[in-house]
Structures are given as C-alpha cells and as structure tokens.
Subunit: 423 residues, 2 copies
C-alpha cells in the first residue's frame, strides 16, 4: 500500500467528462490499495473568468478580496471531483485550503505555505476516503483566505506530499513530460526521462511552464520524488530526481519566458548600501526581481565612481517598479531611470555545463551569427541566461537547440570510457 | 447612528453594474454614519449554473459536496461587492459563512442556523468597515460547509440582525413590496403598506416568493423589524410588523404554489400511533410535509375502523416519499397508496378572517361557480388553503382576488363606527 499525492491542473479538469475520467483513474489507484490525496486546480478558464469579473469593476483589485474570489475556482472542482468519485463507489471527501488547514503567510495572491496540519487528511485517508484538496489556496493566521499565485496548485501538491511523507508526488498535465524546450517553438524538442532538481529549478523559474518553481524547491528540499506525466495518455513522464545522471549531457534544455521587463538605474554614485537603497523598496512591495546586474557606469562626469543597476521584473510589475525607482533615483543621486517593458529571457540549463567551459562562447557565437543583440547576460554554475528583445525569441531558441543537438538522445558517459568506443 | 442589516438577492447582484450601484447605495448609509452589514446572494443564474455542473455528473448529488459547490456562488459576490466598496473609498471586508462564523446543524442543503458568533463582525464594524457577508451558508460543528437551502440568504440577514440587535433588517428585492397576490397572475394586485408577521408567515410558506419562511419566523421570534423594498426604485416597501392593524381587511392576500404533490394512503387500520407509522419515515428522511389530512375511510370491508391519510410534499420529494409509503403500507395493513404529482395550493390569508365566519363559504362558492374541483381543504385561524389541479391555478386566484376586492385599499375599521358612514 502506497500513499500517493496526485495533482491535476486546470486543463485536466476542464470539463465534467474530464473530471469523470480523472475519477476513474484515481479509483484505479484506490482499488489497488493505495491511499490517494488528489490536489486539483480550477476548471480551465474559470480563473480567467473570475479575474475578468473583478476587472470589470474597473478599480485596482483588492488583494484580500481577490483571493476570496479566485479561491472559489478550486472549491468548485473539489466538490465536483468528490461527487464524481462517490458516484463510482469510491468514498471521497473534499477539503478547501482552510479545511485542511494549509496555513500561509499574509501576502495575498502570492502567499507562501507556512504549515500544514495533516490530522484531518489522515483521518479521511484512514477512513478509506480519497482526500480531494483544493490547490492554490490557504488560510492566513488571521483567518483570511490566501492564494499561492498562479500555478500554486503544484506547490500545494508537493507541500502535502512532504507533510504526509508520501511515496510519490505525481503532477498530471496536458504534456507527457519535461522537454528540452517548448515543442511549439522547436518541433523536434525531446522529452527527458530524468532531470535533476537543480536543472528543473532553473527550467521552471525561467518559464518552462510545466511546474511552478516553488513546487520544485519544496520537492527538492524535502526529497519528495516528483513525476510529471500526462493526464490522458499512458507513459512514464519525466522523473525529477536527486540522483546523478548516468548519461551526462552538456545542456539538458532551453528555458525561456516572454513576460519580462528590464529596468535600469543609470549613474548611481557608488557607496556601501546603494544596492539595498535601489532594490529594497521593490522587495518590500513584494515585487519579485529576477536577474540583477551591476556595472561600472560609462558616465564619469562626477567625483564619485558611478555605477548602473539593471534588473528584470515580471511585466505586470513593470509600471509599479518604475514609479518606485523614479522616486528613489533623486534621493540617491542617480542620473536617470530607463526601462524596456517587453523583453524575453533565454537560458541554457544543464549540470554538464560545470565541466565544459566553452558553452557560453558557443552560445554567444550562435546568436551573433543570427544577428541577435544581447541586452543582459547572467550565469550560474549550471545555467547561462541572456535577455533579448521579444522579437528574437523563436530565432534564438531554435538556433541554440540545433547548436547543442538537443533533439538527439545524449551519449552515455561510460561509453566514452570503453575500448569499443569509436572516438 | 444606526446599525442596519441589508440583504440583496440574486437579481439585485446579477451584474457588475448592479453590484456597483449597490455599493453606492451602501456607501450612502455609511456616509450618514450608519454601521452596515450587507448580506448577499449568488449572482443571478450562478446557482443554476453550479447545479447544472453537478447534474452533468449524472449521479445523485452528494449533499455535503453540493454545499461545497453551491457556497462558491455567494463567495464570489462578497468578494466583488467588498472590492466595489473599496474602489469608492468605503472600507469593507468580506465574510464567508465560516469566517463569521455562522454555525449550523449538519443537514446539508437545508441546514438551520444554531449560533452566530458576532465578535468578528463587531470588530469590522467598529473599525469603520462595511461587513459583507455571504448569505445562504454556514459551517457545521465538524467543520463542513453547509447551506440553508434556496432563499436562505433572507434567513442569514434576519439571523444576523437578531444576533447584532439591529434597528432594521432591510430585504432588497426586484419587487417594491409584498402584494395581495402575484401581479403576474392578477394584474391589479396591490402593494401592502404593512403586513403582520403572522400573515407574512402564511404568505411566505405558501409560495409568495418575496421572503423565505424561516427568515420571517426568525424575525417574528426575535422582534426584528423587517422591511421588503426594491433595490433600484425608491419607495417605502412593505413593513412586516408585530403591531396590530388600524385598518383591518378581512383578507390581506392570496398565496399560491405550483410545486406540490399530493399523496394518499388509503384504508389504514386505525389504531394509536398509526399517524406516526405513516409519517415518521418521511420526517426522518428530512422531507418536509405540508398539509396533512386524516379522514375516516369510505372503505368498510374490515374489522378495523379504516382511515385515509392525505398530505402534500414538495414535488421534488414526490418519488422518494411515494417509495417510502409503498414500503410502509403493507407493514401497517394499508390497502393502497395513491398520488398526484402535479397539484397547486391556493390560500386566502388575513388576520381579519378570525371575526368573519363566512369567508370559507364565500371562497367555496366562488370556486364552485367557476367549476374548480377542490381536492383538499385545510384551515387555520387566519388562513384557508385548498389544493386543486395545476390547470385551475390562475382561474382560482383571479376569481378570489375579485371576490374579496383585493385591488381596493381596505376600509378603515373606525370609519364603520362613525355616523357619517354610508352603510
């Protein structure tokens, strides 16, 4: 008997027929003796419908109330799935975030889970019930409904898996695994059998929308085996694992995202604490900053050494962040604030990169050959990211996918060491 | 400074524009210094949409999960109204049933309120916030979501008014008050300025859909002044009051309902406890029985005195009730069970009836003149109800409205005593 947490996203529960199919699938696990916790998202399109309702009020959405509104989406799904299960004689009980309870901090619309009290879930499981849990939502310590932000259902699933110490956390989606890059952009993108948490973190945070980053962080931190697989097709999916690779490709995949904006504070007098003066207010407003670069400024018309700060934020936060910087700039003696609202980020990801110094050089050469102008560069041990204008996205991703032969199965590392090797 | 509870029904909050208008209205009260608690229903059509979703699962809806599903309707409205209020600088906070909390018993889909803990609401009101409360829902002692049944938002409003000791409980609807009967059936039906709780109870329970019966019971029990008025038109509405009438009409109004079914158990050997044997199982299944009649049976082919039981239930409970009776009938030696699924009930209501013995006779004569066959008769001090086939409904109501001059303002009682009276 295993204890499994399964998560089904919005497109997997997008209609009554799909909900019935998921019920059959879940019952299959229950019938073979497993205890099953199912985490579900809102039915596809529902979150957008609710967001539009709030938008029609034509004011800035009030965060606390937006969470009250949006959390109804998942609540509808848990009720329907619990009913569908009971209709096929599979006892089930639905749980909203507050009924579990999943306790979060008070940052509405992007709350973080602080604690999961699992006694209620255990009681249901021990009574032979399937526990159907609303993803994406929690309850704050003052009793308000919170949401974990879009895609937060993944986080819910992983957090529950960690709290319950489950054998596997299965994330069901409309794709059959993690690919070397988005197959809509590169048709010969290839499904990966395994990927390390480290790589997956870089892939997820950079916009490969299969999994939400916080879910992968949680899973890595608590060592929860995570498997991404297709809801309606059979197949092994992609295992996200702590294990080292047997085969070791240089690059595992290419991640990208379009919804970024670039902001630069130019000509800042350089002194200790200046980075905090620039970025502190942004962080306090709970705006997530992604890439951060600091360069010596080209401007030298001052007694101070001058410096430039450049960073990226999500596009939705661009206006707010820009306003804040324009307030801060005169206070710290900066010359000006510049911004580009529409940029994208393209990243090569792979643990094999550690031992291959020339990856960056090959990347920049490919892009130069295609006349793609690079606006920012940032690197870690297993990732190289560049920021380019939106219009270059597809061109850049396809050229890089070709350059690193990502459509081909990686060669086995050990094969390089055998005498029969052809090299 | 007054403390007011207002309730807005589904058609009053049926669109974003309407929600904005209600926000303005509520702000008007707040700005003149009142503390306001607003109870809202689901947006018009939403409850039907959710019910259909559950229906598409093609199984019997599971009561606990239906409540999880349906309660999202009001949750959407409270979030939107709280946002609309904040957009016009009127501080507000939404409350689901469990956040108040409104504690109910465990009869899902027709739960009764057991306790309201008002500390959270008081805190919001004392902080200058409008409290926006989801109608129709509560929380059971084991932490499940419950609903009070359709129309239960009225009950929520009255229960809150009672718990908070408010000065007035205003029920806003799409009609401008309580009428002598349904104006869609009788075009010259007249709005009543006042009606007693006693009369209103009879009117509401018999299908005048302005107010839900439990709301009126609560209001009467706790002496909460209740006013029915129009959401989008100015006007005094109808006051539901404990006071005696100055004018005293014989009949105040005619109530009716179409969704009834009639069931009869024929030839039951009469002995003590037999009524319980027939009706006990129906009550235990939480099916509400309305009219109950017991006659000596026409059948005399037995050693026992035989008796017939006839009663009415809501149409949705007809099949379930009939099945139960067919199981019970052989056990108690009854001859047969008969039923008519489609009947309607028409009732004359008026406290003035007490002192006018000939009302029933006038009623029966009018119906005889129109060839309407009466299938059941039941009377109380202030009400005479008859059951007829559905097809006679409009004919019967119009004939009775005419006979008792309900389109005319009632004569003052004192005018009958003055010498100038023309009588």
């Amino acid at each position: 008997m295993a204890l499994i947490v399964q998560k089904y996203g919005g497109s997997s529960v997008g209609s009554i027929d799909k909900i019935k199919k998921i019920a059959e699938k879940v019952k299959g696990y229950r019938d073979q003796g497993d205890q099953v916790v199912v985490v579900v998202s809102a039915m596809g399109g529902e979150t957008d419908r609710l967001t539009e309702l709030a938008g029609d009020l034509s004011g800035k959405p009030v965060p606390r109330e937006m969470d009250v509104l949006l959390s109804t989406g998942e609540q509808v799904t848990i009720a329907l799935l619990a009913m569908a299960l009971q209709h096929i004689d599979c006892d089930a009980r639905s749980f909203t975030g507050w009924q579990v309870p999943i306790v979060s901090d008070e940052y509405h619309s992007k709350a973080r889970i602080e604690e999961i009290k699992e006694a209620n879930l255990r009681a249901a499981l021990d009574a032979g019930q399937v526990a159907v849990v609303a993803g994406f939502q929690g309850i704050t310590s003052d009793g308000s409904i919170s949401t974990l932000g879009r895609g937060g259902s993944d986080t819910t699933a992983v957090a529950l898996a960690a709290a319950l110490g489950t054998d596997e956390c299965q994330i069901y989606t409309d794709v059959d695994g993690v690919y070397t890059t988005d197959p809509r952009v590169v048709p010969n993108a290839r499904r990966l059998e395994k990927i390390t948490f480290e790589e997956m973190l870089e892939m997820a945070s950079l916009g490969s929308k299969v999994l939400q980053i916080r879910a992968v962080e949680f899973a890595g931190k608590y060592g929860v085996p995570l498997r991404v697989l297709s809801t309606f097709e059979e197949g092994p999916g992609t295992l996200i694992t702590l294990e080292e690779y047997v085969e070791e490709p240089i690059i595992s995949g290419i991640a990208f995202t379009k919804d970024e904006s670039q902001l630069t504070v130019l000509g800042v007098p350089d002194r200790p604490g200046i980075a905090y003066a620039v970025l502190g207010p942004i962080g306090e407003a709970n705006i997530e900053v992604d890439m951060i670069l600091q360069n010596v400024s080209g401007d030298s018309s001052s007694d101070y050494t001058l410096t430039d700060f450049t960073f990226t934020v999500h596009k939705r936060d661009y206006e707010a962040a820009k306003e804040m910087l324009e307030k801060v700039a005169p206070e710290i003696g900066a010359r000006e604030v510049a911004g580009t609202p529409n940029v994208c980020k393209v990243s090569l990801v792979g643990v094999g990169m550690r031992s291959h110094a020339n990856v960056a050089a090959r990347m920049f050469k490919v892009l130069a050959d295609e006349n793609v102008n690079i606006r920012m560069i940032s690197t870690t041990e297993i990732k190289i990211s560049i920021v380019v204008e939106n219009k270059y996205l597809e061109l850049a991703v396809r050229a890089l996918h070709d350059e690193f032969d990502l459509d081909e199965e990686p060669k086995k590392v050990e094969s390089e060491l055998t005498p029969t090797d052809e090299q």
